[in-house]
């Protein structure tokens, strides 16, 4: 076996062990060493040279990046996640014909979809979605993310929250927790417009707080304009667009003059 490959696989074993122990400092350290070592393999993207160990090298590189993604989720570092995911992506797309597919592929793709959803990058979410085959869309990990997006768009927020109980993969919990925060803000925004008032206990239930105190703190911080009176929360309605009493004369004059000018040009 190629000595470089041996070094990498030994280091990778140590990295995996550290990751299992949740020893994040060591694993981050080892990961950066691994990434440097990977640059020496000429069979990896974007070169894709046909070296004798190409399949082996590609497989191990893909494994390393998959673990890197998992590590970034564990350390809750979204930027690192994005970086690692983009490094991993060519192995799923461009190297598809050179490698047997990975069992981790769909969970990681689903995780990425979830990340885009949490960061509210819906356009990119749909762009990624287009890349998936119909088989992939049937996979529980992907389906989970797709259904979440749908419920989120429709406004069926309780479905989003109940999705946390049915996570297809344990790494998903981190993003779902983040999503719960977004959902709370959304619910608050909707309630403000849709209700005149509701009781504190209802509010607590709807905004998913475990105690009244948390709720009051949240209101104080995020929505100081809400009024609390005798156990009821009152929302300040935005002023309705009142029927127009007077004619906006200046604007009308301007418009009419511009029509005249244009007509002049035509005739």
């Amino acid at each position: 076996m190629d000595p470089k490959l041996t070094v990498v696989s030994q280091l990778f074993e140590r990295f995996k062990a550290a990751l299992v122990r949740n020893d994040f400092d060591t694993s981050t350290n080892l990961l950066s060493q691994l990434k440097v070592l990977l640059t020496e393999f000429r069979s990896l993207p974007p070169l894709f040279e046909e070296t004798p160990n190409a399949v082996h090298e590609l497989t191990i590189a893909r494994d390393i990046y998959e673990h890197a993604v998992v590590l970034s989720v564990k350390t809750e570092d979204q930027d690192a996640f994005e970086r690692d995911f983009f490094q991993l992506k060519p192995y799923y797309t461009d190297a598809r014909n050179r490698l047997p597919s990975s069992s981790q592929e769909y969970p990681i793709l689903g995780l990425n979809l979830l990340r885009l959803l949490v960061q509210n990058r819906i356009a990119e979410f749909h762009t990624e979605l287009e890349l998936l085959s119909s088989d992939a869309l049937e996979n529980p990990c992907i389906k989970h993310a797709v259904e979440l997006e749908q419920s989120f768009m429709e406004g069926a927020y309780n479905r989003v929250l109940s999705a946390r109980q049915s996570v297809p993969h344990d790494t998903y919990v981190y993003f779902l927790d983040l999503l719960a925060k977004t959902v709370r803000d959304e619910i608050a925004g909707c309630s403000e417009k849709a209700y005149d008032y509701f009781s504190i206990s209802d509010a607590r239930q709807m905004l998913l707080f475990s105690s009244d105190k948390e709720l009051l703190e949240y209101i104080k911080e995020e929505h100081p304009e809400w009024e609390i009176k005798n156990d009821f929360v009152f929302f300040q309605k935005a002023k309705e667009s009142a029927p127009c009493k007077e004619i906006p004369s200046l604007q009308l004059i301007n418009q009419t003059l511009s029509y005249a000018r244009e007509l002049e040009r035509i005739v």
């Binding site: 819906i122 749909h126 762009t127 287009e130 429709e154 069926a156 209700y195 029927p243």
Partner: protein, 487 residues
């Protein structure tokens, strides 16, 4: 334009001499001389006309005609000649003899122009594609591209852009589009350096097509936004560009812009390009539905499109009624069509609009309704329909889709009285935007008018000539409209 007359007259004598030769070959020779004059006088328009004329001849091409033409144009024994004739399938000798006889008379005197050589490649490629010999077409087009890279003449550009197109087309037919992506990018770069705008336009479209073929919307958008833009040279290419742009924008949820591009593409496309217009209409319908508009019935009744648009018609109907159950049924019934059209994901997005329309109907018809009834009417089948309905209604209110309030304690939705819209400034604003649209349209139309060059020069030229020119232009337009079989 005066040269035009000469050019027309020129080939006729030879026609009378060799009346035994099939007329297709004669036509081809005319085209060749058209290219020749075009290249000597550096008039690109003439070459463009030659390309249009040869597209019209496409159906009449046979192996013997093509090989006779090659013998006529190219010096037998030259490298290009031997390379190209290798693609021609062997035929019976009889006809060949006649042709070689005529070519032997004229060929040696010819000095080979690069334009003519490229034109031979183009003709060969058309022939091979029509004969469904795709692998040979691939080989031939690749060889032509290699040759093209070394030619830097503006008069070749028109021919080159057609070659690029068929190059990509032949690879698409065999399903190897991904292979030539790097090559196309390199060609695009070369075209940019040579300021070959038509080539850039064509290649950009081919690249977009290439990316979209593999659903690589991200890459397509990155390329599109960075590629140099200029005024469109070819209507066909511009239509394609608008269509691809519309698709990209739809995927990235910019529905308003997407609608504009798709509708424009559908309008600009020539009438004969039915397949292309159907595609545009399909996407435009979906985008309008996603925007919350209901397309008019006439769109689905356009001539020759009723059948293709049928699934989309039923889909529109489901959205219009706001019935989730019906929507699900339609989506399931035509799922095969939707997945071949690759619009399945868009239809999944539509579910949200169905709910919205349903909700709007409910809000108009009831002044107060319980949330349980809302859930039932919308046919939300979930574990907790009332809670779902409540938050869905809340979001609809916030987004301004309906005007209502919720009462959590009693669990109902109270619709507000719809105010008199004519007491606000709303109608005036709508009226203004329509006037602005019309005026803008007029201005655009004036700007788009094209005036024939040199009109001021030929003051005393006869009425007849002007008439003839008009007829010629009409003919060219007619042919150009037929130039879309590849849409």
């Amino acid at each position: 334009m005066t040269q035009d007359v000469e050019m027309k007259d020129h080939p006729t004598p030879s026609h009378s001499v060799s009346s035994a030769v099939p007329s297709t070959l004669q036509h081809l020779k005319e085209i060749a001389s058209l290219i020749e004059t075009g290249s000597y006088s550096k008039e690109v328009r003439r070459i463009a006309r030659a390309v249009r004329l040869s597209i019209a001849l496409r159906k009449k091409l046979t192996a013997s005609v093509v090989s006779a033409f090659l013998d006529y144009i190219l010096v037998p024994g030259s490298e290009a000649h031997s390379r190209l004739t290798a693609y021609v399938p062997k035929e019976d000798d009889h006809e060949m003899e006649v042709d070689t006889a005529t070519s032997a008379l004229q060929a040696p005197s010819k000095h080979l122009l690069p334009e003519l050589e490229i034109y031979c490649y183009l003709l060969m490629l058309l022939f091979l594609i029509d004969q469904k010999r795709y692998n040979e077409a691939k080989a031939c087009s690749s060889a032509s591209i290699v040759r093209l890279k070394n030619l830097n003449r503006r008069t070749v550009d028109v021919l080159a852009s057609r070659l690029y197109f068929y190059y990509s087309y032949s690879y698409e037919l065999t399903g190897d589009l991904a292979e030539i992506r790097g090559n196309l990018l390199a060609l695009h770069r070369i075209a940019t350096l040579r300021r070959d705008e038509l080539g850039q336009e064509t290649l950009l479209n081919l690249l977009l097509r290439n990316y979209l073929h593999y659903n690589l919307y991200d890459q397509a958008e990155k390329l599109r936004s960075k590629a140099p833009r200029f005024e469109a040279h070819s209507n066909q290419q511009f239509c394609r560009y608008l269509f691809y742009l519309g698709k990209i924008r739809t995927i990235q949820l910019e529905y308003t812009d997407a609608k504009e591009s798709l509708l424009q593409a559908a309008r600009k496309a020539p009438v004969a390009a039915r397949g292309f217009r159907i595609q545009c209409n399909k996407w435009a319908i979906l985008v309008r539905l996603l925007l919350g508009e209901i397309p008019e019935r006439t769109i689905f009744m356009q001539k020759g499109m009723e059948k293709a648009l049928r699934p989309y018609f039923e889909l529109t109907n489901a959205v219009r009624i706001g019935d989730l159950e019906l929507f699900r049924n339609v989506a399931e019934k035509f799922s095969a069509t939707f997945s071949t059209d690759r619009t399945h994901n868009l239809i999944v997005r539509l579910r949200h609009n169905v709910i919205r329309t349903g909700l709007r109907n409910i809000s108009i018809s009831y002044s107060r309704i319980s949330l349980a009834d809302v859930a039932q009417k919308l046919r939300l089948n979930s574990t907790n329909p009332v809670a779902d309905a409540e938050s869905i209604v809340a979001k609809a209110i916030r987004d301004g889709a309906i005007d209502a309030t919720l009462d959590h304690a009693s669990g109902w939705m109270v619709s507000k009285e719809t105010g008199d819209i004519y007491s606000t400034n709303e109608p005036q604003i709508a009226f203004n935007s329509r006037i602005a649209f019309c005026l803008n349209m007029h201005n655009e139309a004036v700007r788009a008018l094209r005036f024939p060059p040199n009109t001021h020069k030929e003051k005393e030229s006869a009425e007849k000539r002007r008439e003839r020119q008009q007829q010629e232009q009409e003919l060219a337009k007619h042919i150009a409209e037929e130039d879309d079989d590849d849409f």
